[in-house]
Symmetry: D2
Subunit: 327 residues, 4 copies
Amino acid sequence: MLGCGVLSSVRQGLSRGLSRKVGGWATGEGRKVDIAGIYPPVTTPFTATAEVDYEKLEENLHKLGTFPFRGFVVQGSNGEFPFLTSSERLEVVSRVRQAMPKDKLLLAGSGCESTQATVEMTVSMAQVGADAAIVVTPCYYRGRMSSAALVHHYTKVADLSPIPVVLYSVPANTGLDLPVDAVVTLSQHPNIVGIKDSGGDVTRMGLLVHKTRRQDFQVLAGSAGFLLASYAVGAVGGVCALANVLGAQVCQLERLCLTGQWEDAQKLQHRLIEPNTAVTRRFGIPGLKKTMDWFGYYGGPCRAPLQELSPTDEEALRMDFSSNGWL
Amino acid sequence: MLGCGVLSSVRQGLSRGLSRKVGGWATGEGRKVDIAGIYPPVTTPFTATAEVDYEKLEENLHKLGTFPFRGFVVQGSNGEFPFLTSSERLEVVSRVRQAMPKDKLLLAGSGCESTQATVEMTVSMAQVGADAAIVVTPCYYRGRMSSAALVHHYTKVADLSPIPVVLYSVPANTGLDLPVDAVVTLSQHPNIVGIKDSGGDVTRMGLLVHKTRRQDFQVLAGSAGFLLASYAVGAVGGVCALANVLGAQVCQLERLCLTGQWEDAQKLQHRLIEPNTAVTRRFGIPGLKKTMDWFGYYGGPCRAPLQELSPTDEEALRMDFSSNGWL
Amino acid sequence: MLGCGVLSSVRQGLSRGLSRKVGGWATGEGRKVDIAGIYPPVTTPFTATAEVDYEKLEENLHKLGTFPFRGFVVQGSNGEFPFLTSSERLEVVSRVRQAMPKDKLLLAGSGCESTQATVEMTVSMAQVGADAAIVVTPCYYRGRMSSAALVHHYTKVADLSPIPVVLYSVPANTGLDLPVDAVVTLSQHPNIVGIKDSGGDVTRMGLLVHKTRRQDFQVLAGSAGFLLASYAVGAVGGVCALANVLGAQVCQLERLCLTGQWEDAQKLQHRLIEPNTAVTRRFGIPGLKKTMDWFGYYGGPCRAPLQELSPTDEEALRMDFSSNGWL
Amino acid sequence: MLGCGVLSSVRQGLSRGLSRKVGGWATGEGRKVDIAGIYPPVTTPFTATAEVDYEKLEENLHKLGTFPFRGFVVQGSNGEFPFLTSSERLEVVSRVRQAMPKDKLLLAGSGCESTQATVEMTVSMAQVGADAAIVVTPCYYRGRMSSAALVHHYTKVADLSPIPVVLYSVPANTGLDLPVDAVVTLSQHPNIVGIKDSGGDVTRMGLLVHKTRRQDFQVLAGSAGFLLASYAVGAVGGVCALANVLGAQVCQLERLCLTGQWEDAQKLQHRLIEPNTAVTRRFGIPGLKKTMDWFGYYGGPCRAPLQELSPTDEEALRMDFSSNGWL
């Protein structure tokens, strides 16, 4: 098990821009939270009758709390947030806040399709204890989501949010890449602290780091499959579904990157690619939850219309872990 | 102005499968509603402060009520449903029910991301007066929306819906085409009566008609741009954004198709393509609402993050209508 | 068997713009060939050792010559032209010229990546007997193939070609849709007579017909799957891989469309969609050639890297024909 | 200027698998060439009348020969190979062979659409002096280019090639990604030594390195935009259009990566992203050639249908270099 203290001092030394943010994170008066580090995007456990199982949620959190994560993302894509009511979304965040270690960050997904609803959800998320809001791009009218529209949307949200805002671009779900020029513009907003980029285009990520270098703005990789490469181009952490099951390994990969042990980092990264793809693009949340069951967490069922894996898929999922030595 | 009586007898004579549905539409006991005809997907008017403007909604309905539409689609993509609260969605449907002519159909969009929420919204839509529910494919987890998952989703909704269900595939918004095999399977459900297909792939539409020919199942074109071609391959009507502004013309195109006046139909269709693209793919709902303002309806603003058209876009929009003789 | 005479008088009466082209087709002095009608895109037969089998080619042509086709497309995508040497391309066209009926048109594919090579191939195609050149969009540098670049390319080719030029847009192979504005510009060139559009977007096809209505410019459907719909929006024929095996049926569909028997046309069109998809998008040229073997033509092997169908695929291919009553 | 000696010893120490290839590169008997390093993909200069300008080609080579490149790629996508005749392709390679330093590698693009033509071109490329053949995926029939078809194609080429074969996947041009499983299978062929991967998906590149780790198989990045990230995940070099104009800088980036100076590498990488995108995806070969003119090489015109940059584009191109301090 990796110690959190080591990592946090490593982060102090190596992360881009850290020297600009002395004394830890804070909100208000233009000061920004430092979001560098690894986050599992927490899944939402359901009972057999599709109720949110808050008890299992807390149990999972207690187990996850032992790893040197920077914090937790709640209501990200892996949290099945589009399947939750507004009150469930808030209650889940509230419970996680209570169950998780005090020194870690809680990033709460507060994105909705309309700007107004996003503002309201963001304010509510702050009220139930979120440290920052992670806001997915609205996407249903993607044909009209120009840079100007997205800048307007995020600016409004950030203006009215009592907590810092993290942009969230996840084209596999939204069919929309938050344009580089929009990110650059938004990085200048005093209440926007970074982006979670799940697209996997590392050229783009490098460009984002480069063009926001004069801002207090941090880039997080949205998946463990390109975590090493993301660190290499200047990202400061990752929100990794895989960290829900291989938490120690993802944190170790972070540490190897931050301490410059690139050869070992590369070997570890290689062994994480197939498992990561399996619990994300290949088998989605059903795959992630099935794997959680294997690794001592509560995965359980998804809400419909997400379906359970077929036995064939389950076997392929297992192979993606076992062939890399994780099962 | 076209008389509704003519059209409805034309529909009786020509629409596929009508002979199987004697005595008008009804629900329950496996009997199905006949949805053949033209529908404007009603927009949701907002005040300057982004409140739903129910008065303007009713005024628009009164004007639209004079055309020989088969009915109205409420809470389709053009209704900005993702920007409305659940209670707004229901209130809008309720108001439309009261404002519209009694003899027309009200198809209410009730799709949500989760199966359970969709069921609940569908039941509620029935309670406020919808004649049928039009259910968009869930899409956020499109990577997992296999045919099996979608069949499961729609079957559950149709099982529990007190009103007939119309499938709704709109890949421009959802990034997802409801697969042909899923549609064919679902066409056998006693409470599923048809599909609104907005993809514009007329080969696919012909195949849908062909492979569901032994079912009481009807195909509606999701846009006026390919309405003539859709009739040619066996569709029985259309849900056409353009009908919000050129209602008489879209109904005339229907009549020309149903009475076999293909040469005139073709000429009219040609003149509708650019205006149609302008109020859909090219300029979206902001373009549609701007055009409504020009044509004597209340268009008004959209909710954010949708933005107003720039002056340049507005000029191009105007050209798409004027160059075809509509302005 | 349908008589060609009937069809040709039907075409005289109904095809758009025919009245402007009295006295049959001709080249030079701005007069244009009338390309209305159905064309099979001829396959290139190979021996077991992958040599062009000119004898089998001639035998196929003799059989195909009995149908009321307007002519033949040689070196279209189905002719495996990218696998032939320049001299093979010319020799195949030359042989087809000799083997085919004198009163039919020979459209020869002469597209190459560079403008200069396309010009040279077009001139050579004319020398070996082509009546018109059908010129696919260059595509390897599709990122740079702006409307301006494509207009420049086709203008140069048409300027220097001794025979009329037909534009050819086939995004499934090229990843590139010849833009509408480029087509409209090019339709004004005295030596450009039409377009073969294989994309299947019937809204676009209607718009092409509409916006070129003041030119001598004809639109051909590039596939039998949307042939009826294409006629409905103003196309005047089709280049249909399926016509290599169901020649009578595709010609019958043409006749039903041209004589306004839309109900029968629709029924026939429906039964052709799956077989058409099977020999195009689904199983490609290997599927088409396999089917030719079944229908009394010589199909034979493709050149590598195209592979033979697996037994499973072959069974699925057979089903697509038998389930529609063609086998 | 960086010395080649330093780099080559660095490569000896750090490149994956180098220990297995003692004594330099060689062909035959299962021994493989070591392709680690940086390569400019040489452009083909044309005169004002679109003839190949062999003199300018040689002049460019003499200038490029002063950088510590591992070698040169000739007839890659940037060489406009689809616009050259077969004899021009060979003559260009022959001239480059004579003009370039003896100790460097010449990788010659020999891909054609058919397997047979590719084999013949590969043999010819060997005869005019190529050290290895770099073979782009056939793509016109991409719908049929299954893993099996591609494995068959490359196996045949590699079997019959007198020189080692490098796979080449460039989806921006071909619309086709050589599938991972095909690459893994092909990596076991004794005459296939690596892949140039231009897709930019670094997760995929890491997986390729991981799953071919037991083979003598090397991965080259196909663009300078993700060169650092590629090294981080185990690539051993790159074929970089940008190296035609910023040769010293790309080689410096290589050296920084190979010597573990990741912080400096990151800074340099950042400044190369926009210039790299400008001469590849954004402005293509016309952009690259224009930039070559600025940097003391001969760029000159492209063959049609590639067009010159507009003044506006040229200004934007200049900005992409000047804003990063290169002009």
